[in-house]
């Protein structure tokens, strides 16, 4: 059973080995040859690098991303609910499963109304 993991071990060794060899090679080869300011500048596919490496985004982007994830996850919960719905009402009380989802969506709706009233989607502000 333990032998089954041998390929994984091998792969780990190869991965670490390749990374080590590549780093070592670049250091060794970097010592060969002449240096000048152009060679020492940051390598950027032919373009001259300018600006900060991580430009600043408006906080609105993060706000929208957060809201997106929130309502995206809501849909993720809705799919299994919809699939299980028909089987569930065949044996149990239909109001339980309906009420649960209704409550869930209601809470999210409160959050949505709150976000809109607070101007979370208002880009001009």
């Amino acid at each position: 059973m333990v032998q089954d993991y041998l390929p994984i071990l091998l792969q780990v060794i190869v991965a670490i080995g390749f990374a080590g060899v590549a780093l070592l090679a670049s250091v060794v080869l970097g010592r060969v040859g002449r240096r000048n300011p152009t060679k020492d500048s940051a390598y950027e596919c032919g373009m001259i690098a300018k600006g900060e490496p991580q430009p600043r985004f408006s906080v609105k982007f993060y706000l929208v991303a957060m809201l997106f994830i929130l309502f995206d996850i809501e849909l993720v919960f809705m799919y299994p609910w919809a699939v299980a719905y028909r089987d569930y009402i065949a044996t149990y009380n239909a109001w339980t499963i309906f009420g649960s989802m209704f409550g869930f969506v209601f809470i999210l709706m409160v959050g949505f109304v709150y976000a809109i009233k607070k101007g979370a989607l208002d880009w001009k502000r």
């Binding site: 409550g103 809470i107 409160v110 109304v113 709150y114 009233k117 607070k118």
Partner: protein, 479 residues
């Protein structure tokens, strides 16, 4: 009576959501009104709890027994007092929360504790790992927001980040442990687990013990037991003070009820149950020593109370470790009731004084007895009770905990407990010394106290004495 008890949590949740909506639709209204609406709403919930008899709920994962009722009342009362504190603390919040209007963010600061309260009420009734997990998340996620609420204050943000990372980490432990227990027993329900455990073969013991210990680690973070306490001092000091009080009383109490229920479930399998108790004894001893020794050199009252909260977790763990004694659960309940009174009392007075003096160092309390005799007396009672002086609620709690330790033959723990009570006297009386024997450095003006806070202080002081003088009152708590 046909009122389904599970409706209470939904009512509290709706109250919190309604406050959020009111907050977003009214712009000119005075925000403190929301806090008063919240207090009244929670007061109504408390009355309903007072009237509802314990009984079967018809749900597998939700119980409504006397312990659950006690803890529900406990968290509702805590939330009401936290809201009272928040009204006093509003000026500090306004200073550190930027916004268009001067009261920006205040409405949320009053509404979110009510959502936390709903989560805690669910935790008090939960006997299923899934319901425990979900309600625990409701509690911690709303605490993430509250701890980091003062977003122009670096220490509040630091506290928020630390709390976020460590809480998520501990939740991971809890979920992993629950998964192991589910893997062995095929159940997430604690009652069912308790029934299934004795039938298990010996080859499963190590797996079930591993799961139980992981759950213990996860809960250890929540109740601030050493060695999982390292987040406590920084988070408690950085968070807005009412939230610190909420964390140290509410969050800890619901952690303990879950701990009690989980430890109880494992007692049906002695080979594992005994090892869990052994782990609890080690945790209790470490927590007692760390909490009380680290509190000795503190000069900041808020930080001192954080360490004291760790120390009290140690005494509570002592009672849980004595689960074989008959009164173990009762000792935990009465200790927590006393803890609520004295801790909230000290935080309330801390907020009033530090608002005025602009700092929560013990030095700020110098000569308080000459400036505001009532506040000084209130804090004196709180400190006496925290230290465990007879005729205060704290003494009764400690007495019952030591009794449980004696009955379950934990003599080492008992000795440690008595020694650390001695440590406690030193650092609690340091505050009393500052108030009564030091003279005030600057102005000697009386500190203004609002009527609501005044009434709360008087009531808390009164109940601290009542519980200490008439212990039979406490046994009624669990009826």
């Amino acid at each position: 009576m046909s009122f389904p008890p599970a409706l209470l949590e939904l009512l509290v949740l709706c109250l919190g959501l309604a406050l959020l909506l009111v907050e977003s639709f009214t712009e000119k209204q005075d925000r403190t009104l929301l806090a008063y609406i919240g207090m009244v709403g929670l007061g109504v919930i408390f009355l309903i709890l007072q009237l509802l008899p314990p009984g079967p709920t018809g749900m597998a994962s939700y119980v409504f027994d006397p312990v659950a009722i006690f803890f529900k009342k406990f968290v509702v009362l805590t939330t009401i007092i936290v809201l009272i504190m928040s009204v006093d603390y509003a000026t500090t919040i306004q200073r550190f929360v930027p916004g268009i209007s001067s009261q920006a963010g205040l409405g949320e600061f009053f509404a979110i504790p009510i959502l936390t309260c709903a989560g805690m009420m669910w935790m008090a009734s939960a006997i299923d790992f899934i319901l425990i997990f979900v309600s625990l998340e409701l509690v911690t996620i709303s605490f993430y927001v509250l701890v980091a609420f003062m977003r122009r204050n670096a220490s509040s943000l630091e506290a928020g980040v630390k709390y976020l990372i460590l809480s998520a980490f501990s939740t991971g432990f809890f979920a992993y442990g629950a998964a192991w227990i589910f893997g062995v027993t095929g159940n997430t329900n604690l009652v069912r687990i308790q029934q299934v455990l004795p039938a298990l073969g010996a080859e499963n013991y190590s797996a079930i013990l591993f799961g139980a210990l992981l759950v213990l680690v996860g809960l250890g973070f929540k109740i601030a037991a050493a060695p999982f306490q390292f987040w406590v001092p920084d988070v408690y000091q950085g968070a807005p003070t009412p939230i610190t009080a909420f964390l140290s009383v509410g969050s800890k109490a619901v952690g303990f009820i879950v701990l009690l229920r989980v430890v109880q479930a494992f007692q049906s399998l002695p080979p594992v149950g005994d090892k869990v108790v052994a782990a609890l004894i080690i945790l209790a001893a470490a927590t007692l020593i760390y909490g009380n020794l680290a509190a000795l050199p503190q000069t900041n009252l808020k930080r001192l109370l954080a360490y004291s909260s760790i120390g009290h977790a140690g005494y509570l763990l002592m009672a849980v470790a004595g689960i074989s004694a008959r009164d173990s659960g009762q000792a935990v309940v009465i200790y927590l009731a006393a803890y609520l009174l004295m801790t909230l009392l000290s935080f309330l007075i801390l907020i009033i004084v530090s608002n005025y003096a602009d700092g929560d160092e013990i030095v700020n309390f110098n000569g308080l007895s000459q400036r505001s005799p009532l506040l000084a007396f209130g804090l004196l009672v709180a400190m006496m009770s925290l230290a465990g002086v007879p005729f205060t609620a704290g003494f009764l709690g400690k007495f019952l905990v030591f009794k449980v330790a004696y009955e379950s033959q934990q003599f080492v723990l008992l000795a440690l407990g008595i020694i650390t009570v001695g440590c406690g006297f030193y650092y609690y009386l340091k505050v009393v010394r500052a108030m009564y024997w030091q003279s005030a450095a600057s102005n000697g003006a009386t500190i203004p106290v609002s009527g609501l806070s005044f009434a709360t202080i008087v009531l808390l002081v009164l109940f601290t004495f009542l519980l200490g003088i008439f212990p039979q009152m406490a046994t009624g708590l669990l009826r």
